[in-house]
Symmetry: C2
Subunit: 287 residues, 2 copies
């Protein structure tokens, strides 16, 4: 389907995309670039890329498909860098967890070439970042959100659809605004809460003693607190408007729980927990 | 080691204890009682108990070991019920997630017989409650906290230690106060936050659409939100004093994140996330 993939950012997400595409026989050759030369070298040694480029522009030159897999705040500068290599036939995608800011960055960097760019967000990941954890199956069974606009060429949208489906992903299309509102609620808010919770525990004099007693509930709840700090710094900032709205919804619910606890109102407290427990059980059974 | 176990509460925790004890050859016979006759029948049918009792008192009569595995608010009434059957040699334990309130309940219900009672909290569980999910291996590899007081007889403390170790558990002793402070931080607070987060999402007009997009991070973060509402109603109320303290620590951290997001201070935000991420990674590597 494609001759050459230009991979900008050879980490877990980008490396897994390259491996998955090769495994599916969808690309013949992968040229990769990471900001850190050590990462680019490692990707080459691991066979994730076939050739190491010394710049994003060099990685994108002559490619018919380009993937940006960089922290979202690096989207604009990355697109600017590859801009001279862009052709009308090229499919360009990202994998960022926010979409409104990515679209603005793309409009600024690409101008009239924006038609080649299909913003994408595969809902996949691992605790362990880095190209050494890249996995051809990372995107199998996950959802991938595409947020094309009226300017995106339909041929590129079709190709994007086929690529992610070939990787085993279910593809959903929506607007960047709908995407960012939804992920503020079900992804960015949980990350924010997990970060704040970890810092709340470790910031106490007896924090380390407390942590030594933590069990499997704590383990699962805080798993996402170990996420990559740069990636999440960018996400929390890029989507802060929606995220602050979600945080206010959350704090209102937390205060409702606290009020019932303070009043000792077991009946109403049980009703609130039942609501949460039932919603989570229903969600679970759909998975 | 024991002739007869009296099991008050034949759910996941109690049923697993009975199966584990039998499997380890530590008890010859198990007599069980649950408030719901259907549960007691099911426990009998599944072979978790050998005989169904029609009251807690009947279940405890003639036993040398008794386990209470009921929501913590039911501790006092359960101990009152079995009080006429208690002998000085009997080992009585609970499995409650709070210990300060359990101790007060035991002091009220048992009076001078309190020496037989060793409060216990095994840090184990499953999403799926109920005797049908009871598992002889549930306590393998977990920590169990014992919170005996100066009144607890040392022979009973020794027996309790041996029982939980025989089930594969690492045993830690601490005061009820230290237990409740620690578990407010690393267990009760995460549950409270997960409940409030679920209700915050589902309480919004587009909540169901949002949930349809949730991925593996959300799945793990909210797993504990599906916990048993009656059990958690009791825990949130019993330990509310410590839990409200922990919730205040958490809210202060959350506000610190929000302030940096609002200011667009990426450097300081990244530092906060790095602190959380490093703490979680270090904790992980100990497990």
């Amino acid at each position: 389907m494609f001759e050459q993939l230009g991979l900008i950012g050879c980490g877990l997400m980008g490396g897994s995309f390259a491996l998955g595409l090769k495994r599916a026989g969808l690309v013949k050759r992968v040229v990769g670039y990471s900001q850190s030369p050590a990462t680019t070298r490692k990707a080459l040694q691991l066979g994730v890329i076939d050739e190491a480029a010394s710049s994003a522009l060099q990685a994108a030159s002559g490619c018919d498909i380009v993937l940006l897999a960089v922290p979202v705040a690096a989207t604009e500068v990355s697109l600017q860098a590859i801009q001279p290599a862009i052709t009308p036939q090229m499919l360009i995608m990202d994998v960022g967890s926010t979409k409104g800011d990515v679209l603005v960055a793309a409009q600024r960097a690409l101008g009239e070439q924006i038609g080649s760019f299909v913003p994408a967000h595969p809902i996949a990941g691992k605790e362990m970042a880095g190209v050494e954890n890249a996995d051809a199956k990372l995107y199998q069974g996950c959802q991938t959100i595409l947020t094309p606009t009226g300017e995106t060429r339909s041929s590129q949208i079709q190709q994007a659809l086929q690529v992610w489906q070939a990787l085993g992903s279910r593809v959903v299309q929506m607007s960047p605004e709908a995407h960012d509102a939804a992920f503020a609620a079900v992804s960015h808010l949980p990350h924010l809460l997990a970060f704040a919770m970890m810092n709340a525990v470790t910031g106490q004099p007896r924090g380390q003693d407390f942590l030594a007693l933590a069990g499997p509930g704590f383990r699962d709840f805080t798993r996402i607190a170990a996420s990559d700090p740069k990636v999440w710094r960018d996400i929390l900032l890029a989507n802060r408007q929606e995220l602050l709205v979600q945080s206010r919804h959350f704090q209102a619910q937390l205060l409702a729980f606290e009020a019932l606890m303070a009043q000792g109102d077991g009946v109403a407290l049980q009703a609130l927990i039942e609501q949460a427990s039932a919603a989570r059980s229903q969600w679970q059974s759909r998975g």
